[in-house]
Each structure stands twice: as C-alpha cells, then as structure tokens.
Symmetry: C2
Subunit: 247 residues, 2 copies
Amino acid sequence: MSADPTAAILLIGEELLSGKVDDENARYAIRELRALGVAPRRVEIIPDVVDEIAAAVRAASARYDHVFTSGGVGATHDDVTLAAVAAAFDMPVERRPELAQMIRDRLGPEFHERDLRMADVPAGATLDYGVTVSSTVWPVVVVRNVYVLPGVPAIFRRKFDLIKERFRATPIHTRALYSREGEARIAAALDAAVAAFPSVAIGSYPHLDALDYRVKVTFDGRDEAAVRSAVAFLVERLGPEVVLRTE
Amino acid sequence: MSADPTAAILLIGEELLSGKVDDENARYAIRELRALGVAPRRVEIIPDVVDEIAAAVRAASARYDHVFTSGGVGATHDDVTLAAVAAAFDMPVERRPELAQMIRDRLGPEFHERDLRMADVPAGATLDYGVTVSSTVWPVVVVRNVYVLPGVPAIFRRKFDLIKERFRATPIHTRALYSREGEARIAAALDAAVAAFPSVAIGSYPHLDALDYRVKVTFDGRDEAAVRSAVAFLVERLGPEVVLRTE
C-alpha cells in the first residue's frame, strides 16, 4: 500500500439518481477514511446497470488504493453489484457454501431460495470477517482492492467499521485560516504559499453568508510541520488586517 | 435532444472529497432535473485537477444529453474548471470583454486584476443569460452541452433556475408500493413485473426502520398508463396480505 493511500467510493442505485434517497454512505465513508489517513479522490453515483458498474469498478480499482461500493446487494432484480464486480475482473460468479449456510441459519422459517442470491459472489473473492473473527457475522466480500458494502446506511456503517482498521495510514493534518478580504485580494499570497509548500494542499472557499470573514483557506497534508509552516507563511504575507483567525 | 433526455452532474472540489463541505448542489439538481423530465444518470465528485476534470467532462458530454459542472469557478489557484472544460474539447481559453466589463462594473473600487480570471472562458463558449435577457445578470458559460455553474449553493441554485426551462421534457411519473413482506418473498413477482413493463423502471428498497412495511417498491416512467398498469399488475400478483398500500 502506498504511503499516501487514496480511495474511491462508488454508490450504486437508481434511488440516489432519482432523488428518492439522499446519500449518507459516501458522506460517512469520506469522514472515516480521512480520519484513517486515506484520501478519497473520487465519488461516483452509478445506475443499477451491470456494464456501467463493471466499467467504473475496473477503472477505480486500477487507479486508487481502495475502492468501496455501496448498494445493489440483495435478493431482487436490481441487485447486480456482485455480478458487476465479477464482470469487471472477468471472473465467474460462484455460490459460497459458508454464505449460503449463514443465510439459511439466519432466516430460519423466513428463508426463501431467492435469498441465496446474496451468496453468489465473484470466484476468488475473499470474505473479510473483520476484527470480530466470528462466523456469525456476515462478512464483507472483497475482490482485489474492492470492498462490496450494502446500501442500507446502518448496515453500511456497521460493515465499514468492521474492516476499517485495515486502512489506517499516516494521519492527514488539517488547519484553516479565515480572511476578511475576498479571494481576488488574497490570491497572489495564496499562489506564493502553494508554490512554497508543495506537500500541502491549499484550498480557498468563499463564504457569502459568514458574518465576520469572506474566505476560508484550508491546509491539508501528512507533514504536520509543513502544514503549520504554510499557515504561518500565509499569516505573515496577509497580515493581521486580513487574517481574522486561524484554527 | 432525445425524447428521453439524460444528465450528468460533475461536482468539482477538494472540499467535498475531504468532507469539509457536504454536497447540496447535486441534491438540488437531481430533484429539479427529475421534475423537468430529465433523468440524471451519473454524479461524480472530482478533485481540482485539470486533467481529471477534462477527462470527466469529455466522457460525460459524449454520453449524456446535458452535463452540469459545479464549482471551481473563481479567482484562486484551485479554480480550474473553465480551463478544464476548454481542455476537454481542445479549445483555447479567451477573455470575453463583456464579462470583464461586468466584473469591473460590479466590483467598482473592490476590483482586482485577479477577478478577471472569471472572464477567461473556453473559446466558442456561449453565454446564456437565461430567461432574464438582462446584461446585469452574470450568465452561465455553456460549451456544447456542458453548463458551468458555481459551487456556492445559493448561486448554483440561482444560476440553475435561470436556465432550467431549456431542459423541460416529457414528465417522469413515479408511484410506489409498500410491501409487508421482505425482498426475497416478492422477488419473483417483481421479476414478472419487470419483464411485463419494459418501459417502467422498477426499484426495490428494503427499509429496516419502517414500522409497518419491509420493502418500498418504486415505479418510474414517462408513459403514465404503463406506470399505473405496472403497479396494478404487482398489486394483483402480491395480493392484499402483502400490499400495505400504494401511493
């Protein structure tokens, strides 16, 4: 794994594209990944179409260290994520006996043949039971660097939390500076800071509704000393008339 | 324009990928587009990197009827969307005198040379003043089927509303059915409905927290009679013990 790990989050579901449901899972995963030291670099919302999901999974798997899918895992016609992940890597789908057994045990009299669809996973997938090492917990299906998670937010979060320690990396440090002046007035100083601190990601965000400042400048990086130096550099350049505060 | 127009929404900004800001614009655009009869088919969150934005714009422009970008339009180093849209279509960037004049007029004594960056748009872009036909309103920059919108939510909404009537199409009708039984028990009937009504998009969404139902089934389509027939078909197949209600 790289020292500067990246991630993509692929949200699968017509309900998100039609506005019937608002995303909660990308929002959760972004915050958790950042706290773990992983930089999310792409989020996509994709319809329930095998070819589209497969293409997005293939591209993201090649490009980012970790890929998380959300949704499309279930017993109905619109649950095609596992088939699509298999297609992404030209793998067949195979029924995993331990998953089939778990479904039968869990559902008991409620069991229906259709539920076994959730036991059909890409051949060669690994089943990650996370920190629990318990066979009563439904595992996360993992294919290469792709983690297949369910779309129901409460279960998405539970599954993500089960495996998240696997992704822990060097922390990303964040600081902020609030400017009383607008973007155009601080842009030259920002350019100088960007040039002087290449390891620090510097962002500039105008706020129309804030009462006491006009722009929030953010500083992000894995080198904490460089992040602090970049803030100090910009404070020095802009001066106290411009800088309302830092945090 | 096709009778069944589609759209992609490209959100540009590190602040979304780092979790500093939650998206409001895709959420707004999805609901508005659906109400206009346009089907959103893809949403992407992309970092402030010219090559990445250009590749996404080029791909989306070729594939969907309308493409909306949000963010990366301003006076600082991280505002690269207009340059990226130009790169997507191998166009140079040129300063538009009418935009430069508007910036000078509007900012008055606050004007700074850097503000002119917002007047540098892809050569061949059209400026859409929307329904207002007023030269005091900042226009939407349009390149082919790509509409470049700002990231600040209040301005994004204002600009979108200015041009949205251009996209009005045949309405999409939506209905829903609430099932007391879980997905596996209704999946066969769902499959039959999917096969019988190819013009209707049928979705199945389990709800863990709902008190009185277990699955919400949704029906979407431009043919209102087909949508109603698909609902009636499934009600008939599942029977009153299973169907809690429709809406």
